[in-house]
Symmetry: C2
């Protein structure tokens, strides 16, 4: 994958790690009990937090990376890969987490769910051994995060709300914006055969709009997808939500509050995994959609002040 930092070799290894999670569900967990439910349900990874996003939202205050001893305890309690969140721009929360690389910290999420520490800069993720995942609302954000070294992208959605509308919006926008680049490339090839203007100036101008290298934009235009896996996150609360996001093009799913704020987290966790895996089998989604009790109640009423998705660009 092309980027401005040129740490290509290691970076491709990190993307390979992200690729291995494709098609799976990654679950936010705040306790060993959560982590065991996730592993039992078939999650491909767990994300260790101090609080799940709905509780971050409810409790207010500064949300920081999880206590290191909690992350250690969770890592020891499960055999699947463990991720941890750090604040946007917090190089040192990330450096501390990176120390646990050998113990099995597989990904760091530079996440808007926590309180950002840097309103201008994201972490230079190429400079770490651990791969990073970052949120994006649109293609420009996704490409900028990749250019900084993110090995996985996820939609931001609106975390902790149980309202999947925002995640749908984000994956739709990313898809439309990829399509725009693809169309420029295809039209350019079409015209080039007629000895007319090709795609270069249009893609270059898009690269400037997105503030990323031309090569990154060209990659997307040629390949019809991001150079890293693109997961869905933020507000997924039911098996149908999970299957919808896959249908819209997500490579996998993050769920947290949607499971642990529901009536029966252990049952629902399994069902969300089933629906994600079988998103193209409507009979199996039907089975997954039954008998899990009450889903998360959720909220549709998020003021700009409380919106997490707008916390970075």
């Amino acid at each position: 994958m092309p980027n401005s930092g040129k740490q290509i070799g290691t970076h491709n290894v990190k993307i390979g790690l992200a690729d291995m999670l494709k098609g799976g569900v990654i679950m936010d967990v705040a306790t060993v009990n959560h982590a065991k439910i996730a592993e039992e349900a078939g999650a491909v990874s767990v994300m260790a937090l101090e609080k799940i996003p709905a509780d971050v939202r409810a409790s207010g205050g500064v949300a920081r990376t999880a206590p290191i001893e909690n992350i250690e305890t969770i890592m020891k309690s499960v055999s699947i890969p463990v991720m941890a969140k750090v604040r946007i721009g917090h190089y040192m929360e990330a450096r501390v987490i990176e120390q646990y690389e050998k113990l099995g910290i597989d990904f760091i999420d530079e996440s808007e769910v926590l309180t950002p520490v840097d309103i201008k800069y994201h972490i230079n993720k190429l400079d770490y051994k651990v791969p990073f995942v970052c949120g994006a609302r649109n293609l420009g954000e996704a490409l900028r995060r990749m250019d900084e070294g993110a090995a996985m992208i996820r939609t931001k959605g609106e975390p902790g709300t149980g309202d999947v509308k925002h995640a749908v919006e984000h994956i739709r926008i990313i898809r439309e914006q990829i399509a725009e680049l693809v169309g420029m490339y295809e039209m350019g090839e079409f015209y080039r055969n007629e000895k007319r203007l090709d795609f270069h100036d249009e893609l270059l101008t898009k690269a400037r709009e997105y503030q990323v290298p031309y090569e990154l934009v060209l990659y997307v235009a040629k390949n019809k997808e991001l150079p890293v896996p693109n997961f869905a996150a933020g507000g997924i609360a039911t098996p149908q939500d999970a299957a919808l996001m896959m249908y819209l093009g997500a490579d996998g799913i993050f769920v947290g509050s949607g499971i642990f704020k529901a009536e029966n987290p252990d049952i629902l966790a399994k069902k969300i995994v089933e629906a994600t895996t079988n998103f193209d089998r409507y009979d199996l989604i039907r089975d997954a959609a039954c008998d899990f009790g009450e889903p998360m109640s959720g909220t549709t009423d998020i003021s700009e002040e409380k919106s997490m998705q707008i916390r970075s660009k």
Copy 2:
């Protein structure tokens, strides 16, 4: 070509007539002398007007279709196809012109250069034997005109100014908007192979935005071009202008004031034809770009009130 009026057979014949003009130059003419210069220069057709657009602009007042006797005289003076302009929405100017079909009126231009008579409706062009050409600033306008039966589209540009900037803008926008549809289609095909959402809802929503049938949008998305020839018009004044428009994807060129407001219309007319025909041969454009004297002076200062391109939607 799909449209809302369903007069498909005859309509395809009209588009065939338009196809025969591809790669050529169509010149606005107000006199027999103009017409002879155009024919001598190798124009594929002439457009009979009372005044060339720069004079329409300068003289003010209501601009109407050319006097019928002038059109007749021009038709008798040349052997190439003759077009005539009618006012937007003026069914009866068009019906009168249509009477000359057998004498050789080959196209009607429902043109924003004349004073529109109907601020809401364009002529139902499917209901005429003569094919129509219409102007467009963007893909939506182009598709709406085609849906009404236009067999050829041209950029609006800003006629009679000698400033090609607007025509460049219009062909660029149309190209970008075609690319957008192409990308949606290609992405949809890509995802359909993965059993994910295809292109239908995106193209349908675009069809609604453009206020045209889905099939018309789908045609463009699949074929990477309009179902009718797309010429460039409005402000072309030099051989390089003409070649630029071809390079950007135009199927041919309309020129009027650019020739007849120049120092040597007879020389420049030939050179614009040469540059249009050989737009991919920079050595030949170089030759065409020499020794024609002063080009049209032109103007870059068009107030909204005097803008012709905004006269219809």
